[in-house]
């Protein structure tokens, strides 16, 4: 028994250490946001303050980076979600022989290092723009380049989400709608999109968050400008003061709130399912009971 006991404690210890590794750095960083010390640390603790939060709000580059991140996120969602949907639908319709090739091609951006996507986007559009005669300002616009560059692989991520949902779609519903007289566009909007709604929501959230926190590609495509993430990296590298820790606290706080909301929603959904299951079971019981009663009454 003691070997078993020992094993349990070893496992518990391992898990504890694992999560210490996972959460420890973040907790320490959060704590350092409140330390007076001008270098972010918790040792030595020079005094508790919230002044770094104020400094954070004053940092122009961070604030403008934040707005850039939001605009770019919106642009990426607008571009990659429709692209992902188109890609997923095409995958379903493309012939058996072509499908593996097609799949490899569209999934490849997921496997290509972000720096390469950033680089290739920048040099391609610069060149392509001048060949085709587009305005230099347009094709070298950091926002344009970042949105296009990020969408390259974010579309692939979202496409995977759509494929999972699309595989469960009953094709005969499309046919039924057509048969009843709907045009193809009507079938798309009235039958397919409502079915895909959960996947669309997931994709939008996924696209926005992935875009927001992207560094490897963005640092190339933003040229001289910055998103919140790239500005943050710059700060983390050179301009070290605890306002970064303050930002970390803000972000982690928001994340925590998001996680709690998500967990609460999930718990509530589960409760509803449990209740309806119980109700169905009760109904079944009642039905069989009344059937048994009737049978007894008849045979009596």
């Amino acid at each position: 028994m003691s070997a078993e006991h020992l094993r349990k404690w070893v496992i518990r210890g391992y898990i504890a250490l694992f999560f210490l590794y996972l959460f420890g750095p973040l907790l320490i960083m959060s704590a350092s946001a409140f330390n007076l010390s001008s270098y972010p640390t918790i040792t030595p603790w020079e005094g508790t303050t919230t002044k770094w939060f104020g400094e954070l709000a004053d940092n122009e580059r961070i604030v403008s980076g934040l707005f850039n991140s939001i605009w770019i996120g919106i642009g990426v969602v607008a571009l990659s979600v429709p692209t992902a949907l188109a890609g997923a639908i095409m995958l379903m319709q493309v012939g058996e022989r072509v499908r593996p090739i097609y799949y490899t091609i569209v999934v490849s951006p997921v496997l290509v290092p972000g720096v390469i996507i950033g680089i290739s986007t920048v040099i391609f559009w610069e060149r392509f723009g001048s060949i085709v005669g587009l305005d230099y300002e347009t094709t070298n616009n950091p926002f344009f380049l970042t949105i296009v560059g990020q969408s390259t692989f974010i579309s692939a991520y979202c496409m995977l989400v759509f494929i999972a949902r699309l595989q469960r779609f009953d094709k005969t519903q499309e046919e039924a709608a057509l048969d009843l007289g709907a045009t193809h566009v009507q079938v798309f909007w009235k039958v397919l999109i409502p079915f895909l709604r959960p996947a669309i929501l997931s994709s939008v959230v996924l696209a926005f968050l992935t875009s927001f926190e992207n560094y490897n590609t963005t640092v190339f495509t933003m040229v001289a400008r910055g998103t919140l993430t790239t500005e943050l990296a710059g700060l983390a590298r050179f301009g070290v003061n605890p306002s970064i820790s303050a930002l970390a606290v803000v972000i982690m706080g928001l994340t925590l709130i998001g996680a709690v909301i998500y967990e609460v929603k999930k718990r509530r959904e589960e409760a509803i399912i449990e209740k309806s299951k119980k109700r169905a079971a009760m109904k079944r019981m009642r039905d069989t009971e009344s059937a048994a009663e009737q049978a007894a009454a008849v045979s009596a």
Partner: protein, 457 residues
Amino acid sequence: MSDGVPSSQIILAQSGITPSLPTPSEPTPAPAPEPTTPASPFSGINPSLPGSNSPSGISPSLPGFSAPSASSASSSDTKDGISNLNITITNPDKLPELPAGQHELKLVIQDGNAQPPADTGLGFIEIFIAIVAALLVAPFIQRQAGKWSANLNAFQFVQRNGVAISAYLLIFTLGWIIFMIILPQLYMFDFSFRHNLNPSEIGGPADTYTLKNYTYLIFGREGDADLLNWLHLEVFTKTIIASVIVTLINFALCYPLAYFMAQSVRGRNQRLLFLCLLLPFWVNEILRAFAFKLIFADLGLVNSFLIGLGILDQPYDFLSANVALYTGLTYAYILLMIFPLYNAIESLDPNQVEAARDMGASWLKIHMRIVMPHAKPGIASGCTMVFMLTAGALAAPNILGGPSSLWFTQIIYQWYNTGGNWPQGSAYAFVLLISCIIFVRIMMRVFNVGLGDIAKR
């Protein structure tokens, strides 16, 4: 132009970026002899630019430009033709940030009237557009032949989806594939074989193909003392090896937890565990890397702890020793290793493990012979993703790397920023891409999995 001065303009002056130069670093070519011919674009600084008699026509009356003090003409291979050249910056905010020190600068003099030269770089892209167009037309041709009619029937496609939706599907999908996936990569590949030219020189006589960007990685600059480019080669090998090591450590770290989660925990607790795992990864990767910088700093937790315990007298520079970097890199991609492992292990029937235990197999045997073979796709997926993200990581090395540690991606970044040699950067980037592809292929071969298994998260 009516004052007899050819309408040449100094591009740098026009855009306002004109940094101060200590010495010119490139030999200067001879100036064009005729004053009335529009000056052909040339790089370098023409030392013989006195006043309005200058044969190359750079007038001191141009805004933002003041005449150099050197007055003697020079031939193309003297370096000391200029002793002092003053240039004024008119738009400082357009200036890219340059750390202090010497820089290579190019002064491009371009004639405003001259037409952009014919583009030979166009050929490559044109060929590919033609190929793509051929691919689009091919289904119609093949439909006649009847061969692929079951697969690529374009007519049936439009019938099935209606015109509007077909257009939407084709435009977005092909647009994505061609303009975002295929062409940029091809162009980068092509670009990596070219010289580092100014925009105006592209398509001109100087625009030829060359292997020098790739050979630079191996042999370094021409005329260098060393036979090989030890610095970059070392960085490259170190990056690859370190990525492999980080992957292995990551795997060893995550496997037990994944196994535990998949086999022992159920229901509500499982979801809680998942959430706890996910939480740190919703935090920006920059902040996560930064957190490690805090911990390993001279005044940071680890040092204070070790000093407090008496193990160290002085703070140990963990950052320079790359400990911080490796720890941070391992941390960064835990999620990507755990989830594929978890999914793969979860599908294993726990009865198999039970049966093996009943038969007296040791834990090691159980894992090596039963669990891991079953989890092969998950292992392959996790290791591949972690390796590629680690080899291609930029944030963590930038933040956590010490001065002696250079990550290959940082060299690429340098070529793009301070080095100003985009083709070189592209070549290096391509080498990185090939390494990743090779690794993926090896993993796929060793573990016998397909691309789809790896990409699924």
